[in-house]
């Protein structure tokens, strides 16, 4: 039988979760969500004909990660300065050099957490995208930052409206 192979184009923005690294790709008639754990990929498809709604939910994960990275980084920096100070104040002893080993290790860890904290903050606000289909709501694994999600949302709105035609009424759904 004939097997059509789709040409996929990558959409902007990825996302990490316990399921792996997420990424959205688009084909002619559907959106493909790829969740990768490096050695394997799992797929979910959302056909443009079937997409009923697309929602971006703003989350506060950025603040939570900033607190975690900042907190752990600060603790590491405090330990590093304490051991460094202890080393300086015992400089007459032979063993004081050994105190600089934890200074170097915790100093390096503090630097790593500082970099992670800065990267997290620079990526912008966090969010979660949801797609409504005939089978209900599906939370997407990507994009997870508002800036990238805005691009994805604009692209999905234009493709889905082109596939389905304009909604019968403007504004919120009637209840």
């Amino acid at each position: 039988m004939s097997t059509p192979t789709h040409v996929y184009r990558k959409l902007r923005g990825g996302g990490f979760s316990w399921k792996g690294h997420g990424r959205l790709w688009r084909a002619e008639d559907h959106l493909l969500e790829v969740t990768s754990i490096y050695v394997s990929e799992s797929y979910r498809r959302f056909f443009f004909q079937d997409v009923r709604a697309f929602i971006v939910q703003r989350t506060n994960l950025r603040a939570i990660w900033a607190a975690i990275f900042g907190g752990v980084g600060t603790v590491c920096a405090l330990i590093a300065s304490a051991t460094w100070w202890a080393g300086i104040s015992n400089s007459s002893e032979d063993w004081h050099v050994a105190l600089y080993i934890p200074t170097a290790l915790f100093g390096l860890a503090a630097l790593v957490f500082l970099v992670l904290c800065v990267i997290n903050l620079s990526l912008g606000q966090t969010c979660r995208c949801h797609v409504l289909t005939s089978t209900g709501w599906h939370a997407l694994s990507a994009p997870t930052r508002v800036g990238k999600a805005n691009h994805t949302q604009a692209e999905i709105i234009s493709i889905v409206q082109a596939a389905q035609g304009p909604a019968p009424t403007a504004g919120p759904p009637p209840l």
Partner: protein
């Protein structure tokens, strides 16, 4: 019409202004939401329960000769009725073609997962070298080579295609590991012989 619910807490939402740009809050879980509702939300489900009996001279379903053909299978072209119509993504298949496709993973629209052989081989090629676990190299190197060779014929990532470079790199690193392992063994036996003298 399907009820309109919050994607986060699934509570029924009141008529509040869902907008693509302006955020609104779910009255139940306070989630900040914005978005777009599409035409498909208003169109009721297509429930085609009525079966059309074929009239004299009309095209009939291949599987149900008394039913009128509704459409043709997109894979084999056989006429099928509304019972036999199995939509797979944007295509319509007959039951025979769908089961053929399910059996050998031929339909790209229904593949749920792919194991990436070449990438796994590459992991077996790189990680043991980085971790310097040389006693394992003969096993991990052999695994990398075998996985890379298998990957040559196995299905690949739907989006990235066949990554031959990963398989070739895995074979090279695998052979390096095996060679390195024999090198260490020779070195050890040589130094033992020398110290025994």
């Amino acid at each position: 019409m399907v009820p309109w619910t919050c994607p986060v807490c699934r509570a029924a939402l009141g008529p509040y202004g869902l907008d693509a740009v302006q955020e609104a809050h779910c009255p139940s879980c306070r989630a900040s939401l914005r978005g777009q509702v599409f035409a498909a939300w208003w169109t009721p489900e297509k429930i085609e329960s009525k079966l059309d009996r074929a009239l004299e001279g009309e095209a009939v379903c291949f599987f149900h000769p008394s039913n009128r053909a509704a459409l043709a299978c997109d894979a084999c072209g056989r006429f099928i009725c509304t019972i036999c119509d199995l939509p797979v993504g944007a295509r319509h298949l007959c039951p025979v073609c769908l089961s053929k496709g399910l059996g050998k993973e031929k339909l790209p629209e229904i593949i749920p997962r792919r194991f990436l052989w070449a990438r796994t081989g590459l992991a077996f090629g790189i990680l043991p070298i980085i971790c310097l676990v040389w006693p394992m190299w003969v096993i991990s190197g052999g695994t990398a080579v075998i996985l890379a060779i298998i990957s040559w014929w196995r299905p690949v990532s739907l989006v990235r295609g066949r990554q031959r470079w990963a398989a070739i790199l895995a074979i090279v690193l695998g052979i390096l590991q095996i060679a390195g392992w024999f090198g260490f063994i020779l070195l050890i036996s040589y130094s033992k012989n020398n110290s025994g003298k």
